[in-house]
């Protein structure tokens, strides 16, 4: 029952949830006994930032994207090329890349977001693949399929190095990302997004500019992915085009859906589970891929709403047998 109330609080929005997330980030190092665990925690944090942004697009606005790894890859390569090849300060490189990616998302988002359902899936998938191919082919700048080395992140002489330092930086940014996302969801814009999720025509009838709102959230999610990509490149010190590949896009979407659509903390849980899972599955060696696919299918079949909303709902109905069952986590 104790764990029950804790989970319920985790699933509750805003303050409670943010405090819970902050507590998890603060207490987690107690369990991280070596740098390998820190390394995984940093990767979880970076994926979680992308997923929080992607969840705004998929979970709240109801627009699918199968190409977000493209934005992640652009962030990573933008930073890598500007900082490592042209010697820009990493922060300036990251900002310039982010502005460029936001502009790109703004320009392509307008026509793409006119499409619906599977056509939108196709267009975003195509966009991701085009970005991937450019990165993999333009080896003069990107190093091609072999990848490229990236200098460590530094601000004014202070160099960010080591898993532990990165852990706190990424943890803080994750909190910031979650706070931004929750604020957006609770704002009038967030309500507009949910309205157009249920019915685009209906939303327009009551005066919501559906196109503008979809474009806004598309750009925001692209920026989240881009920043996480930049940081990830500096953190790992080496990147390959695989970061921008279709499979990575799928992984990101799976994290969002696994954790639970329209649940910011669900996105974090999804990122945590699906980033650590392959590490655990490495024990299966040749069977790793099979097990991963089976887990993916199994969760979606038995928990189609994702882990966090499904659990929140289960708890809600347990606690109150007469509950109407509409316990849709936020």
């Amino acid at each position: 029952m104790i764990s029950g109330t804790m989970l319920a609080r985790l699933a509750s929005p805003r303050t409670g949830g943010l405090l819970g997330l902050a507590a998890v980030i603060a207490l987690l190092p107690l369990a991280l006994t070596n740098t390998y665990f820190y390394d995984i925690a940093v990767l979880v944090g970076l994926n979680a930032i992308v997923c929080i942004g992607l969840n705004l697009l998929i979970g709240y606005a109801g627009q699918i994207s199968l190409g977000h790894a493209g934005f992640f890859g652009l962030g990573a390569y933008g930073s890598a090329i500007l900082a490592s090849r042209y010697g820009w300060p990493p922060l300036a490189a990251m900002l310039a890349t982010t502005v460029a990616v936001a502009a790109l998302a703004f320009v392509v988002g307008r026509p793409i977001l006119r499409l619906k359902g599977h056509y939108l899936a196709m267009a975003t998938l195509g966009l991701g693949i085009i970005i991937y191919m450019v990165i993999a082919t333009e080896d003069k700048y990107t190093g091609g399929p072999d990848g490229i080395a990236v200098v460590p992140f530094s601000i004014g002489g202070f160099v960010l190095q080591g898993e532990r330092v990165w852990y706190w930086v990424v943890g803080a940014l994750l909190l910031l990302a979650a706070w931004l996302a929750l604020n957006l969801i609770e704002s009038p814009a967030g309500r507009a997004l949910r309205a157009l999720h249920s019915s685009e025509v209906g939303a327009e009838v009551v005066g919501i500019n559906a196109a503008e709102h979809k474009l806004m959230v598309f750009v925001i999610s692209a920026v989240f992915a881009c920043v996480a990509g930049s940081l990830g490149a500096h953190y790992s010190g080496f990147i390959t085009p695989g970061k921008a590949a279709f499979l990575h896009s799928i992984e990101l979407v799976t994290m969002v859906v696994f954790g639970g659509m329209a649940s910011t903390f669900g996105a974090v849980v999804g990122a945590a589970v699906l980033t650590t899972l392959p590490q655990l599955l490495a024990a299966f060696e040749d069977y790793e891929m099979m097990v991963f696919g089976a887990v993916m299918m199994g969760t979606m079949i038995f928990l189609p709403r994702g882990v966090v909303p499904s659990l929140a709902r289960l708890l809600a109905t347990r606690r109150d047998a007469t509950a109407d069952g509409e316990g849709n986590g936020v």
Partner: protein
Amino acid sequence: MQYLLTGLTVGAIYALVALGFSIIFNASHVINFAQGEFVMIGGMATVSFTAMGLPYLLAIPLAIVAAALIGLALEKFAVEPARNASVITLIIITIGASIFLRGLAMVIWDKRFHALKPFTGDTPIAIAGATILPQSLWVLGVTLVIVLTLSWFFGRTLLGKAMLATSHNRLAAQLVGINVRMVLFLSFGLSAALGAVAGILIAPITTTSYDVGVMLGLKGFAAAILGGLGSGVGAVVGGLALGIVETMSAGYLSSAYKDAIAFVIILVVLFFMPSGLFGKRGGDRV
């Protein structure tokens, strides 16, 4: 002319995969991202069966049946239990299935490339200043036969008409006594068989391996979208167009970017025709 012939061959394969997407989409409004894996299974299973010493006449039907059975199993155990889930959940289930099947193939077979012997020799035939492999003729011929058979099946047989009716209006089809669950079940078997045929036909030309399904699946999906989801004509035209555009751009522009150019063209088409070339232009219901 050479590029046109090569493009048509590749395009015919895309068309077969795209038809598989369309058939399942019509029956269930699900996009089956595991479609590419059936292509892989078809090719790899034929390789195995011929390695056991079976002649093509036995190996090919066996491989098609194997793929169809896996397709039916996929519907029964993965799609059917989740039929009330949202579109994106179903997409992830089928992607999970494709990863699972690819992993399975890696365990059963290996990571190497396998070649299949052409059905009838490999002496190129000269046509109007270009050459064509006998295997390409097989690809084009078999695709033509399949397209004709499918149009007969959907236009003239009771089962085919039942499948069409289900695609137009599921509830109404159920009301007039069509077993829509059976239709959904069969559509997966049929699509899997089509995918397997595509995989077997192309294997002698491009070789096959456990991960050949990824790109072929994506291209088939792209072709189905280009033509307009759910349209049979669209799938065939989309597939052929995609194949020709791809080989032409590889030949005249840049071979490194041939896949990218195909996707750029699809994006451009979608900007102007948001439902593809032959797609239904439905209004939004509030």
